[in-house]
Each structure stands twice: as C-alpha cells, then as structure tokens.
C-alpha cells in the first residue's frame, strides 16, 4: 500500500507506467554512482551497508527512534532485495510520528530561554523530474539551496559540527554528504568506509539514527531533524551527543529528487 501510494510521487505521465518506485529511483542512483566513479558495485554496497550500520547504531542510542537495535553488514546483505541493488536494510521505514518546534523572535524571547538556538541560514530549491535532471549523483537544486544557506550563515561546510540529512536510502546519504560539501564528489562512499560520518568522525551525520533508524514519519521528518539538531546544540543528547557541537545543518528532500530545504542552526558560543 505504501509503495503504491508513494509511487504517485513520480512523474505521473512519463514515469508512472514504467512501474518506477522510490526505492527504484535511488537504486538507479546507486548504479549511476558505481558507474560514474568506477567503484565496483560490491564495494559500493559495502559502503552503503556501513551507512545503515552506523545509523542503526545511532538509533539504538535514541530513546525516540523507531528502530533501537544495532545491525551488522550481514543484516543488510541477508535482507530481501527491493530494487537492485537496494536491499530492505538499505531502505528507511515508513513511521508513525509527529514533531513540533517553537520559533520566536530572538530579540524578544532570548531572555526567556536558557539555551537558545538560532536559525542563521536557510535555503530551498526545486527541480524537475529525474529524467530532466540526468546525472542522478548531483542535484542542482540541493547544491544551490545549501549554498544559499551557507552564504546566509556566513559559514562553509567545514564549519558544520553536526548534520541531519535525508537518508531515505543508504545511497541517498552518500550522495547528500557530497552535495552538502562535506566530501568531494565521488568520495562520499570512501568517507562512510572511514567512519568520517560516525558520532566521533570528522562530520557526524544523522546522530538521531536518521530516517533509516530514527524513522521516517513523512511530513514530520524535517521538523524532527530540527529537533535533533536543537537538542545536539544544547548538549542534551546523552549517549549520541556530538561533543561541543555549535553549528548544525539539516537537509530534507521531497518528491523523487525534486524538492529540498536546508536550515542552519547555531548556538551561543
């Protein structure tokens, strides 16, 4: 039912009758990435599995996560094939959940909040269907959106301490980590292998567990990312706390690679 419903998210006239699904779109991203960067598919699948293992490990430390259990790479490789080369554990779940945040004028309300967190940069963008965008490892709208947010905040990718991004599929986290500027294009998979995106890595990604393990309550997901970053910047994340995080970025994707939004948060130093 869910896949049937969300297949409506594809281009209704041109893509729908091919039977393309959301996992199918990101499966095509994985094949494209493997070919473009000359990374043999079995190697890329290992990098993708490491993303799932990392996000589950983070989710296990998050009392509000949908899945609070660690997995191994074998869990991924032994799971059902959904859309080659994506297996079940390369895919995020559909989750029930809600999220809410309170936004107020800093000038008026700063004195009423013990640990204020500020919105210092935003961006949003939209693009056409995937066949118009062509190179599925890049998304011009996302790259333009995050660039706008960085510029507004007066920072660059290397200033970000913690990031929640739209890991609807394991390969989605890898390509997003490149488009947000954390790694060179084609290096996101190797970065996942090195553990650069783990809690103690160079740029911790999805400390909440991400869509993969924290869960994907469609519609509530973006605000839930904001919640996690605010808690991280306040130092209230317990076992999954990114030490000393001052600046956080969220990245939310909608449609099949077609709409995107970014927000950069900062706390008082």
């Amino acid at each position: 039912m869910a896949t049937k419903t969300f297949a409506i998210g594809t281009h209704s006239e041109h893509e729908h009758f091919s039977g393309l699904t959301f996992p199918g779109v990101f499966a095509m991203v994985a094949h494209f990435y493997s070919k473009k960067y000359g990374i043999p598919l079995p190697e890329l699948k290992k990098s993708m599995a490491r993303v799932a293992v990392k996000n589950h490990a983070n989710g296990a430390k998050n009392p509000l996560a949908h899945f609070r259990k660690e997995i191994t790479m074998d869990t991924v490789f032994n799971s059902a094939m959904i859309a080659d080369p994506l297996q079940l554990f390369d895919c995020c779940p559909f989750s029930d959940g809600g999220s809410a945040i309170v936004i107020a004028d800093a000038a008026k309300f700063k004195k009423h909040v013990a640990k204020p967190v500020y919105v210092v940069g935003t961006g949003q963008g939209s693009a056409g269907a995937i066949f118009r965008q062509r190179d599925l490892t890049r998304m011009a709208a996302r790259e333009a959106s995050v660039k706008h947010a960085y510029k507004q905040a007066g920072i660059g990718p290397s200033d970000v301490d913690v990031c929640e991004l739209h890991d609807c599929f394991t390969i989605a986290e890898i390509v997003a980590s490149e488009m947000l500027g954390f790694f060179e294009f084609g290096q996101g998979a190797a970065a996942a292998d090195r553990g650069d995106t783990s809690l103690k890595g160079k740029i911790p990604i999805n400390p909440s567990g991400g869509l993969k393990a924290k869960g994907h309550p469609i519609g509530a997901t973006g605000v839930a990312q904001a919640y996690e970053i605010v808690k991280q910047l306040r130092g209230e994340c317990g076992e999954r706390q990114v030490e000393g995080a001052k600046i956080g970025l969220i990245d939310t994707l909608g449609g099949d690679f077609s709409t995107v939004a970014h927000v950069i948060f900062r706390r008082d130093s």
Partner: protein
C-alpha cells in the same frame, strides 16, 4: 492562446503510430521529450515539434522487485539517453530481469512503447510507458 506544438496526448498518439516525438526550443536549441509547455532548459514558449530517432543507450537501471499494485515483478526500469539528447525513463525488455547486472549500463537500445488501456489504469486514463530493447 497559441496551441501547444505537442501535447502529451499527441505524444502518445505519435507513439501509437510508431513515431517518437519531441520538442526543439527555437531560442536555445534544447531538444526534449516527453513534452512540456515550455523549454525545460530556458523556459521559452518558442518550441517546434520534431521526430526523434528511436535509439539510445542505457545510463542507469534497476530491477523492481517490490512493485506497486498492478505491476507484476520483477521488471527492469531504465533511464536512457536518446541519440538526439533527451533522457527518458521506461522498461528494459527482452532479457531476464534476474540476469540484469551493471554491464547493462552503456548498452544500445531501440525505443518502443507499451499502452495501458483505460480499463487497466487506476485513474481511468490511458497510460503509456516507453520500452527499450537491446540492439547489441
């Protein structure tokens, strides 16, 4: 208002007649299909209908194993770069989906189509998908 040079209905009728139709932008030269009201590159309304060569090569693909209702799996969905430039989505036919591997990328295909009659679609409108058959 000026009529669109190529509507989606006319695009589908073209396929039924064995023609792969597209649009060429008279301002920037961009060639694209399926049709759009404006140029997908520069936004111009100055478009003319053209025939596209029904050939291309596979840029990426997947084998859908968990499918929406009404689509018997497994089947292959591919993205193809047409000889005239546009990229399109459709089904790769003529090989066992279980034999489809990364070597499919780069393979040359000829482009056809498959019609879904009104009686078989949920919205009650006729649907169509492009089909790609390996030529080498």
């Amino acid at each position: 208002m000026k009529e669109y040079p190529l509507t989606y209905t006319a695009f589908k009728e073209g396929l039924a007649q064995g023609r792969l139709l597209g649009l060429k932008c008279l301002d920037c030269g961009n060639i694209f299909t399926p049709p759009n009201a404006t140029c997908t590159s520069c936004g111009s309304f100055k478009l003319e209908k053209i025939d596209l060569a029904p050939q291309g090569n596979i840029k990426t693909f997947t084998v859908i194993r968990v499918a929406p209702a009404g689509f018997p799996s497994p089947y292959i969905v591919g993205m193809v770069e047409l000889a005239d430039g546009p990229w399109v989505v459709g089904n790769v036919l003529g090989l066992d989906p279980n034999q489809a591997g990364p070597d499919l990328i780069g393979k040359k295909v000829s482009v056809g189509h498959k019609i879904f009659p009104r009686s078989e679609t949920e919205g009650g409108q006729e649907g169509v998908t492009l089909t790609f058959t390996l030529t080498n």
